[in-house]
Symmetry: C2
Subunit: 340 residues, 2 copies
DNA sequence: ATGAAAGCGCTAACAC
DNA sequence: GTGTTAGCGCTTTCAT
C-alpha cells in the first residue's frame, strides 16, 4: 500500500514512452471510433498500465495548469435549514454527475460572513458560484461578478442583473391568500421578516394584491419581525392578533410558521378553527399531525437543477450571449386537508 | 477589474525583490515579535504590496508543491436529513475556522455510492475524511485507511480499529426504555431497521437490557423494517402493534419515529394515552405540537467538534501514538412533557 | 538579508 | 506517431 500516488511519469516509465504521450492519451479519452494520431497498440498499453497502477491525475497540477478547478461554491443562508439542505443535496448530486465538486458556505443572513465566505471561495479557486443573497450582500456579489466569475442567484434576486432561479413569490403569496379568502377567512394578517429581501417582499406584495383584489380586510396588515425574534416576541404577536380578531395568518417563511404555530398551540388555540394558516414549504410536522393548513410547495429539485444547468452553461459553454437568464418557477399550493 | 489574479511574481516586481523572498514573507506570518531573518522594512513593503494588489496565494500551486490540500471529505448518509445537516453545519464552521475546506457526499446508505464518493474524494485529494459508515462500506474504508489517509468514523463504528465519535447508543436505548417503564408502560416494542449498523444494534441492545433488567414484557420484541419501508408497511405495523396490545414504542431513529407517528395519528390514536413514545433526536414537530414523549438528544455540536478535533490532530499534529481515539458521548433524555 | 534555481504533476505547442 | 520542452504559481534548499 504505497503512500505515493502514481503519476504520468510512472506510467511513462512502465510503458516506455514519454510522459507527454501518456497525458495525451489520458486526456483525449480514447474514442475507439475516431482513430487519433496514436498507435492503437501504444494507447492500449498506456491505458492498461494506468489501470494497473491505479492512476488518477493530480487535480492540483491539472488546476494549476489549466486554471480550471472543477469546483463550484454554493453560498446559502444555513445548510442546516431544511429548505436549503434539500437544495444542497440536489446540487451535490448534480455536481458529481457533471464531475464538479461543491463547497458550501452558510451566511446566517449576515453580510459579513457572506463576504468572508465569498472571498475564501474566490481565493480557493472556484469556477462559478451559486449564491443565496442576504441583506447587504449586493455589493460584494457585484464585485465578485465583475472579476469574471459566473454567479447564479438562488431564491432571491438583487439590484443588479444576474442570472437567477427563484420561485414566483408574488404568485405564491397571492395564491395562498386567495385560497384563505376562498375558505371564508376575512381578517388575514401576514407575518413576515423585516429583512429587505426580494423573495420576502414579493410574497408580501402577492398577499397585498390578493387582499385588495378581494376587497377583504386590510391589504396591508403585515407584521414584520426580526430573523432572530424570541419565542416571547412571537407569543405576544399571537396574543395581539387574537385581540385584533385576526382570523388567519400567512407566514412568509416556514421558519416563521413553525414559530407561530408553536406559539398558537402552546396557547391552546386550534387550527383551522381559531386561526387559519398558510405558509411556505413543507414541514415534517405537517405529516405527523395532519393539521388543516395551506402551504406553497417550492419545486426544490427543479430549482437546484436549473441553477446547476445555468452554471454549467456559463462555465463550459461559451454561451454568454443571453448571459442573464432569469428563471421563475411556479409554486404549487397544497391543502393538507384535501388529501386527508 | 482584471481577470488575472496577482502572483508572487507581481509583488516581487512591484517591490523590487525576488519571488522567493515574497513567498518567504507570506508564509512565515510576520510575527512582529520574533525578528525573522528579514529586514523589517522589506517585509513591510511586501506585505503592503500584497494587500494593495489584493494578493492571495494560488491554492492549486500550493497544494501541488506541498501535497497538502487543506480540504477534508465528509461522507454521510444524506445531507438533507436534519441530523446530518446539523452536523454538516458545525463541521463547516469548524473547518473554516481552521482554514479547511469541506467536501460533502451523501451515500443514501448505499455502499456503491459510498465507495464511489470515497474514490472521487481520494482522487481529488483530501487530507482526511470524516465518514458515516453504511452497510457494506467497511472494506473500502479499511482500504482507503491503509493508503495512509486519516479517517474518522462518525455516528457508527465498523469492524476495524478507527478513531470514532459516537453516541453511547446502548445507554440511550436503555435510558429511553427505562423511562418508559418508569411511566408505567409494560409491553414496549422497539421499531428498528434491518440494517446491520453498530448504532442501531447498540440501541436495540440497550432496549433489550432495560426490558430484562425490569423484568417487563418481552425483552426481544423488536420489529425491523427496511430503510425504504412504504407508509403502508408502517401502517400495518402499527395496526399489528395495536392488536398485540403494545403500550409503547421505542423508535430506533427519528425518521422511524416520524413515519410511525404519522401512521399513529392518521389512524386517530393518541399519544401518550394509546401509545407511549420514545425516540432519538429532536424534531420541529415536537415543538409545534407539544406531544408528550421522550427522546434522546444527541450532542450534535460536540459530536461534530470532537470529530474535527481528532481529524486536525491526525493531520497537523504527528500524534499517531494513540491513533485510535474512540469518543463516546452521553445522550440526554428529554421528556417533552416535563417542560410543558 | 536576499536571490537563483529546481521541481511538485500536468499539458500544450512544437519539434522530429 | 511520438518525444522534447516549457511553464502554470509556489516553496525550499543552497548560495551569495
Amino acid at each position: 500500500m504505497g503512500r505515493k500516488k502514481t503519476t504520468v511519469k510512472d506510467i511513462a516509465k512502465e510503458v516506455g514512452v514519454s510522459p507527454a504521450l501518456v497525458s495525451f492519451v489520458m486526456c483525449n479519452t480514447y474514442n475507439s471510433n475516431s482513430h487519433y494520431r496514436i498507435k492503437p497498440e501504444t494507447a492500449r498499453m498506456i491505458l492498461d498500465a494506468a489501470k494497473r497502477l491505479n492512476y488518477s491525475p493530480n487535480t492540483s497540477a491539472r488546476a494549476l495548469k489549466s486554471g480550471k478547478y472543477n469546483t463550484i461554491g454554493v453560498i446559502l443562508s444555513d445548510i442546516s435549514n431544511a429548505f436549503f439542505s434539500e437544495i444542497a443535496r440536489v446540487i451535490e448530486d448534480e455536481a458529481y454527475k457533471h464531475n464538479y465538486f461543491v463547497l458550501f458556505g452558510s451566511t446566517d443572513e449576515d453580510s459579513c460572513k457572506f463576504s468572508q465566505i465569498l472571498k475564501v471561495f474566490e481565493n480557493k479557486g472556484v469556477d462559478a458560484l451559486i449564491v443565496v443573497p442576504c441583506v447587504g450582500s449586493d455589493e460584494c456579489i457585484i464585485n465578485t461578478g465583475s472579476h469574471g466569475i459566473p454567479i447564479i442567484l438562488l431564491d432571491r434576486k438583487i439590484s443588479a442583473p444576474f442570472p437567477s432561479v427563484t420561485l414566483d413569490n408574488t404568485q405564491a403569496g397571492y395564491d395562498l391568500t386567495a385560497r384563505l379568502l376562498d375558505k371564508g377567512y376575512r381578517k388575514i394578517r401576514m407575518v413576515s421578516y423585516d429583512m429587505e429581501l426580494s423573495n420576502i417582499r414579493d410574497r408580501e406584495a402577492g398577499y397585498s394584491k390578493a387582499m385588495r383584489d378581494h376587497g377583504a380586510g386590510d391589504s396591508d396588515d403585515i407584521r414584520r419581525i426580526s430573523h432572530n425574534a424570541s419565542p416571547d416576541t412571537v407569543d405576544s404577536m399571537i396574543e395581539e392578533a387574537r385581540k385584533d380578531a385576526v382570523e388567519a395568518f400567512v407566514f412568509a417563511t416556514n421558519t416563521l410558521a413553525v414559530k407561530g404555530m408553536t406559539s398558537i398551540f402552546k396557547k391552546g388555540y386550534h387550527v383551522p378553527s381559531d386561526f387559519g394558516i398558510a405558509c411556505f414549504d413543507k414541514n415534517d410536522a405537517f405529516d405527523i399531525y395532519p393539521t388543516d393548513l395551506l402551504y406553497a410547495r417550492q419545486p426544490v429539485v427543479e430549482i437546484a437543477k436549473h441553477s446547476m444547468q445555468i452554471l454549467l452553461e456559463a462555465v463550459d459553454g461559451a454561451t454568454d450571449n443571453d448571459a442573464c437568464r432569469q428563471i421563475v418557477l411556479s409554486p404549487e399550493i397544497i391543502d393538507t386537508n384535501a388529501g386527508a
